[in-house]
Symmetry: C2
Subunit: 93 residues, 2 copies
């Protein structure tokens, strides 16, 4: 089975690279067995912060009106890549 | 013209994720106009630290016997993606 690829598309002019790299590292740590890779993709569209699993959008800043909290992002990714996985304290509300 | 994609394949069991993420951020900062994205790819092969531009290997730890210095890595990437680009103080020996 081919593991899914995550892409974090971010607006470099907005200064969001460090945030994207931080989230990439969180995902690679938490989902080391479930995902193939994480790609950091600078956007040409201003204000974009969009996270994809393969080609599918799982989080979009414009849509949501905010950045994802890391706990929220892990839950969204978990629900796609391994729904049975417990996230420990990141699973509490 | 399609900009090249960089991939950093690293051994997660060796604890090299932070190093890979650090280098990803350096490359995204220095080559913001020249590259499309940087992918962090955990390797299933122990001891691997290999950097690709598109499908082409530009640096391999086993081959070289060491990790790339960031200055060295930027020179290697620059030579492929934009040979005319000056790297400032990273161009001195």
């Amino acid at each position: 089975m081919i593991k899914p690829t995550i892409t974090i598309e971010y607006c470099p002019k907005c200064g969001w690279m460090l945030r994207a790299a931080y989230m990439a590292q969180e995902l690679l740590t938490t989902f080391s067995d479930e995902i193939r890779s994480v790609t950091l993709l600078p956007s040409e569209t201003g204000g974009r912060y969009t996270i994809y699993i393969d080609e599918e959008i799982v989080f979009d800043r414009k849509e949501s009106g905010h950045f994802p909290e890391i706990k929220e992002l892990k839950q969204l990714v978990r629900d796609v890549v391994n729904p049975a996985k417990s996230l420990g304290h990141s699973d509490k509300k």
